[in-house]
C-alpha cells in the first residue's frame, strides 16, 4: 500500500473510531439523550428529518458560498493593496488586526439593524469572517516575493501591473489557497452565527429552535451537517489548490514517487 493510501485509511479509521468510542461511552455511562445523544440516534434523526433539513442545508450552503465569494473578492483586493508596498503593509496592519479581533457575533445585530434579519446579514457575517485570513495571506505572499524575481521584470521595464500579474500573483497562489481552506470553514461559522441570531432559515436557525425544544439529537444532527459541508468544501479547495499550485508542492509529489 502506498504511504498516501495508508494515510487515507488511517484517517477513515480515526473518524469511524471516534464515533464508535462516542457510542460506546454513551452506552457505558448511560448518558441521557438530552445531554449527549448517541451517534446512532443522530443518524436516525438525520434520516427521519432529512426532508425537512434539506432546504435549510441548502440555505446555509448558499449563504456561505455567496459570503465566501464576496470575501475572496474583497480579500484579494485588500491583500494586493496592502501587500504591494512595504509602507501600506506596515500602515494598514494594525487596523486590520483590530478588525480581525472584533468578535463577529457582536456585529450581527448591527447588520440586522441595517439590513433586517434573514439572508443578507448572514452573507455579510460569512464575508467578514473569511476576509482576514485571505488578506493576510495574499499580502504576505506578495510582500515576500523574492526581489530577484521582480528585478528580472524591472530590467525589462515591466509596469507595476505586469509584475503583479506575472510574478506577484502566481507566486502568491500557494498562500492564497492555504488561506481559502481556512476561510471556507470560517465562512460557515459566520453564516451559522448569523442564522442563530437573526434568521428563520438555515441550519443555525434549526439548531437554535431545536435546542430551545430540548431536541438535542436534532441539534447534533445540525452539527454533523455543518461538519460534512465544511469538510466537503475544504476538500474541493484542496483539489483546486493541488491543480493550480502543484509547482509549489513538488517535493511532496516526488517523495510519493
Amino acid at each position: 500500500m502506498s504511504p498516501q493510501a495508508r494515510r487515507k485509511v488511517w484517517s477513515a479509521v480515526l473518524i469511524v473510531g471516534f464515533f464508535v468510542v462516542w457510542e460506546a461511552l454513551c452506552w457505558l455511562f448511560n448518558v441521557s439523550d438530552i445531554i449527549v445523544p448517541k451517534p446512532s440516534q443522530i443518524i436516525v434523526t438525520l434520516i427521519q428529518r432529512g426532508p425537512a433539513l434539506w432546504p435549510h442545508t441548502l440555505q446555509t450552503l448558499y449563504t456561505t458560498l455567496v459570503g465566501f465569494g464576496f470575501g475572496i473578492f474583497i480579500g484579494i483586493a485588500l491583500g494586493v493593496l496592502i501587500g504591494s508596498s512595504r509602507l501600506a503593509y506596515d500602515v494598514a496592519y494594525p487596523l486590520l488586526v483590530g478588525f480581525a479581533s472584533i468578535p463577529k457575533v457582536a456585529v450581527v445585530p448591527i447588520f440586522v439593524l441595517w439590513f433586517g434579519s434573514g439572508t443578507v446579514p448572514a452573507v455579510l457575517t460569512a464575508m467578514i469572517m473569511c476576509i482576514f485570513p485571505i488578506v493576510v495571506n495574499v499580502a504576505t505572499g506578495l510582500a515576500t516575493t523574492e526581489p530577484e524575481l521582480e528585478d528580472v521584470m524591472r530590467a525589462l521595464r515591466a509596469t507595476k501591473f505586469d509584475i503583479l500579474w506575472n510574478v506577484g500573483l502566481p507566486r502568491t497562489m500557494p498562500f492564497f489557497f492555504a488561506s481559502l481552506k481556512v476561510a471556507v470553514t470560517l465562512a460557515f461559522v459566520g453564516t451559522v452565527i448569523s442564522e442563530t441570531v437573526a434568521s428563520n432559515r438555515g441550519i443555525g436557525n434549526v439548531m437554535m429552535i431545536a435546542s430551545s425544544n430540548f431536541d438535542v439529537p436534532l441539534v447534533f444532527a445540525g452539527l454533523i451537517i455543518l461538519a460534512i459541508l465544511g469538510v466537503a468544501l475544504y476538500a474541493v479547495f484542496s483539489l483546486i489548490e493541488s491543480k493550480i499550485t502543484g509547482w509549489a508542492h513538488r517535493k511532496d509529489e516526488f517523495a510519493m514517487g
Binding site: E146, E148, L149, D151, V152, M153, R154, A155, L156, R157, A158, D162, N166, V167, P170, R171, M173, T245, W247, A248, R250
Partner: protein, 277 residues
Amino acid sequence: MTTVTELPRTEETFIELENVTLTYGRGDKQVTALGLTNLRVNQGDFVALVGPSGCGKSTILKLVTGLIKASEGYVYVAGREVGATPIRVGMAFQNPTMLPWLTVRDNVMMPLKIVPPFRQEYGAKKKTEFRDRADALLKEVGLANFGDKHPWQLSGGMLQRASLCRALIHEPQLLLLDEPFGALDQFTREELWAVMQELWMKLKPTVLLVTHDLKEAGYLATRICVMRTRPGQIVDDAAVPFPRPRTIDMSYTPTFVSMTQRLRELIVSQRPVKETV
C-alpha cells in the same frame, strides 16, 4: 593597448557615464558605492567589468538599466539620458531566477510578453512564431528538448543556459550580464563562454559583463575595465586584441596569460589598505 581612459566620442557611443557618483545613506553612515566614474561603451562592444567584491560593478549595471539613479552626474543610453529612449535590455544574473510555476519555454518567452513591440503580438504569436523562436534559441544553447520541463527539473548549468535565452529572446540592443557563469563548474562555464561568444557574434548586442574571472573576461570581452574599491572607480581600461572566434586553447598562450597576469596584479595592488575600524 593599456590605459585608454579617454575614448573619442563617436556616433556609435551607446552608453556613457559622465562624472557619475553614487552614494547610499546619509551623514555618518554614508557609503560611496561608486566614486567619480566616466565610461563610454560603443555600440556592439563587449565590455567586461572586473575588480574586487564591492567595487560597484553591479552598481554600474543598475545605473545603466535605470533601476537606480546616479547621485551626481549623468547616464546616457542611446544618446539620451537613461530611460528617455526606450531600448530593449536583456539581463542575466548569477542566480538564474526562473519563475518556478512556468515551463522553461514560458520563462524564456517572458520578455516577449512584456517588451514592446512584441507584447502587442504576444497573444497572437505565443503558440506559433514566438514559440518557435524560443525553441530555436533553446536548441542553440543545447536545451533542445527541455522547453516543456519546469525549472526545478534542470541542473544549475542548464538553468543558466535558459537564463541566457531569456536575456536574448527579445533581441536586446543592450545585454547586461551580472556574473552569469559565476556559480557554475569550470567545464560548464567554458562551454557557456563559447555559447555566449557565438550568440554575441551573431546578434551583436552591446554587452556589459560583470565578472570575477579574468580568463572569462579575456575570452569574451573586447574591452576590460578594471575597478577598484572604496570608492568604486574604473582604474584601467584596455582593449583585448585577440581575434574571434576565440578558443579555450587561446587562453593558454603567453600573450593571454601575461594579460590576465597584468590585470590580476592591477586588481591586487588596488586593494584598499586595511583601515583601522
